[in-house]
């Protein structure tokens, strides 16, 4: 077994030839540096500008208001996510393993508080907003649910005109004022700031604004136009005509084919497969059969053709 030609090889005792390793390294570095400079000069690099909540709510006011509502009524992606943001669902599972749930909600996000109520509380008070917030904060959770449900029921008839979000209901308590003020706050740019400054003055954590953005359709629509969706093999793509992370081809491939393309647990399944395949790649030298492929395919005869020729083999 250990005498297999795929494992053992006798140390080389044959002829040597001069080989200037430092010169080789220097030449390689210079060639790569020149090639890099050339490619950078000719093709530059992509830099599609960031999306702001202000831009989103200005370009797609209804989508923003509907997303804000989904944070309130608990139907948004974040609200229903599970770990690490909350305990709303068990999250994805691989057979009996709910890995995310086991590790817990370590980055707690309460969509009602973090995306709606807290930012509104940061706003300069207006009589209408102060009244609405007081009404909301003083209400029982059953009362809040009743208001939000009433708003949700008519949200399909939501309109946006003259900077105002309107729905045809009078049974939603403070919710119309809250949604509308959040919309105006977003369009002024204040919500971008409010979402990142919840940790104080300095910040480098964009979890909240990114989750909020991702709950809407606007970001996804832009990504679809740029061919970046997961279903478009987007993981390996870059904006424009730039090459992307081509090395992710196998990872993104699995998402395109059944059963993963329709699985609710696709992420953990694909990760499981990729972990396993990475382990296989790592252990190639120890896996009988796999480690014999080089000997069977005889590609090495091309690489060492001079050697075999000189041996008369």
């Amino acid at each position: 077994m250990s005498e297999s030609p795929d494992v053992k090889v006798a140390p080389w005792t044959g002829p040597q030839r001069p080989y200037d390793i430092i010169k080789e390294g220097t030449i390689a570095f210079i060639v790569v540096a020149i090639l890099t400079i050339g490619l950078a000069l000719v093709f530059s690099s992509p830099d599609d500008p960031q999306v702001t909540v202000q831009q989103w709510s200005t370009k797609a006011p209804i989508d923003f208001a509907q997303t804000a509502l989904s944070e309130l009524n608990g139907t948004s992606g974040t609200a229903q996510y599970g770990a690490p943001y909350n305990t709303a669902s068990a999250g994805q599972q691989l057979g009996p393993f709910t890995l995310a749930k086991w590790l817990g909600a370590t980055i707690p996000v309460n969509t009602v508080r973090d995306f709606v109520v807290d930012p509104l509380t940061d706003q300069p008070a207006t009589p209408a907003l102060s009244k609405a917030l007081a009404q909301w904060k003083g209400a029982s959770s059953a009362q809040r649910t009743t208001w939000v449900d009433a708003y949700t029921k008519v949200s399909g008839k939501m309109t946006f005109a003259n900077g105002t979000v309107s729905v045809p209901t009078s049974a939603a308590g403070p919710v119309p004022v809250m949604i509308n003020t959040l919309e105006q706050m977003a369009r002024s740019g204040a919500l971008d700031q409010a979402l990142v400054t919840q940790n104080g003055f300095y910040t480098s954590n964009f979890t909240l604004p990114l989750l909020f953005l991702a709950d809407g359709s606007y970001l996804g629509d832009l990504a679809q136009q740029r061919h970046l969706l997961g279903t478009q093999w987007g993981m390996m793509n870059e904006t424009g005509n730039y090459p992307g992370q081509a090395w992710l081809w196998l990872y993104t491939f699995w998402y395109q084919v059944p059963p993963f393309s329709t699985s609710a647990n696709a992420d953990i399944q694909v990760w499981g497969i990729m972990m396993l395949l990475s382990l296989v790649l790592l252990l190639v030298p120890f896996i009988p059969g796999l480690r014999s492929i080089p000997r069977w395919t005889r590609v090495y005869r091309l690489i060492w053709r001079d050697h075999y020729r000189s041996q008369g083999a």
Partner: protein, 59 residues
């Protein structure tokens, strides 16, 4: 100033182009990179390495 001199000669911005065949969907940029890798690999196997002791030992 220096910035404008360093702008791209060939712009790759703008709408991307994609090769779509059944469920395969890949940008021409990535396809080019992968094709170049295969071509480079095959070339590395076949192109004679300079300074190799070829002719002397063949006889």
């Amino acid at each position: 100033m220096a910035g404008s001199l360093l702008a791209a000669l060939v712009s790759l911005d703008g709408a991307g182009h994609y090769f779509h065949w059944h469920w395969i969907d890949i940008s021409y940029a990535n396809l080019t990179v992968i094709a170049l890798m295969v071509v480079t690999f095959v070339a590395a196997l076949f192109v004679p390495f300079p300074g190799r002791r070829s002719k002397k030992e063949t006889k």
